[in-house]
Point group: C2
Chain length 197, copies 2
Amino acid sequence: MNVTHDKDAALDAALTLFWTKGYASTSLKDLERATGMHPGSLYAAFGSKAKLYCLSLERYTQAISAAREKAQETSTSVLEGLATFIEHAHPVSAGIAPLPVCFLVKATLETCQGNEAIDAKLSELLNQNEMLFADIYQDAADKGELPKSSDPKRLARQLTADLAGLCFYALRAKDSSAIGGMIADLADRVRRPRLSD
Amino acid sequence: MNVTHDKDAALDAALTLFWTKGYASTSLKDLERATGMHPGSLYAAFGSKAKLYCLSLERYTQAISAAREKAQETSTSVLEGLATFIEHAHPVSAGIAPLPVCFLVKATLETCQGNEAIDAKLSELLNQNEMLFADIYQDAADKGELPKSSDPKRLARQLTADLAGLCFYALRAKDSSAIGGMIADLADRVRRPRLSD
DNA sequence: GGTCAAATTGAGCGATCACTCAATTTGTAA
DNA sequence: TTACAAATTGAGTGATCGCTCAATTTGACC
């Protein structure tokens, strides 16, 4: 009894699985169960476990970029859009994601050594994301939302690190009110960046 | 040709291996090579891979706590001690560790599901560490280094998250000068906490 | 209904996984 | 030197790993 497969749905299922379990701990048996595809079909469609993982990383990045752009469009200012994204659309706050952790952050700390193609894809997506933050801060500076003296790349670095730290804390903490406070704090820091140093 | 083993040395080797490769990606073959112990000896000495991992987590926590205490003792104030620790003794800055990432942070993002004993041990050590930070901030407040209104637990949460974010960034970044700047920024924030909010 | 290329199937490949235990070697003490 | 408990050895356990491919089923066109 063969079944015609929906590659997009299968990719979403794989993304959820990799996101929650990690790369090494996700077996092909897990992927078969989650996607409903037999090993031959999985390999015909995606090539290998590593390639499927890379596709999952890309899928995730696209989805989160779209969420960020949407937050940007519905906001009155550039920094407000960024803060809104953090407060309502980022995995750490949205409550929709399988884990309250950016998939790229988790993947970075897990994979750092091993498959070369995965590391390269991860670097590409992370750099791309940080450059996007830098562009946003540059845009904010151009529109007068930031002092002329501010350094968009530095702000982008700090935001990347701050989001990663928040993700880490959200994953392990049981006290969700503390997380809420930390999210609010970060969003506030984005809205009104420190001028010191 | 039998060899008498040094359990402490073997544990150190295991720690380095788990720290760099992660739990799931470290095989018993890897551990055999690194410790020089055959599987039977490893099991006689440590019980199982999971137990050896837990012991590694404990060993790491002990070592880093000792480094923090030392920084505390050689400093003129509580907050200065904490900042010095971050700048010179934490894995992210010390340059001695196998990776510029706190082992507990990496382990948390990798393991989060799976072996129950590991998760419990990880939670225990992370909570213990955060409570230690809170004690330090409380001590600083008692000694007048912080305003009476400051919340030691909140500061401890934020420091935990900030260190995790820094670790994440240090692991992936190629630009070490940027990392140096971020470490200095964090140490500075510890020395002179923001009074806002 | 007949034909055929494309998609799906799933048993099974060799490799590796965490782990065991009977056999051997070692250190100690009489 | 002998005796014996403790430590070490490493071949081997069954399970599972990522992955392949010949056989089967499907859907599109005539």
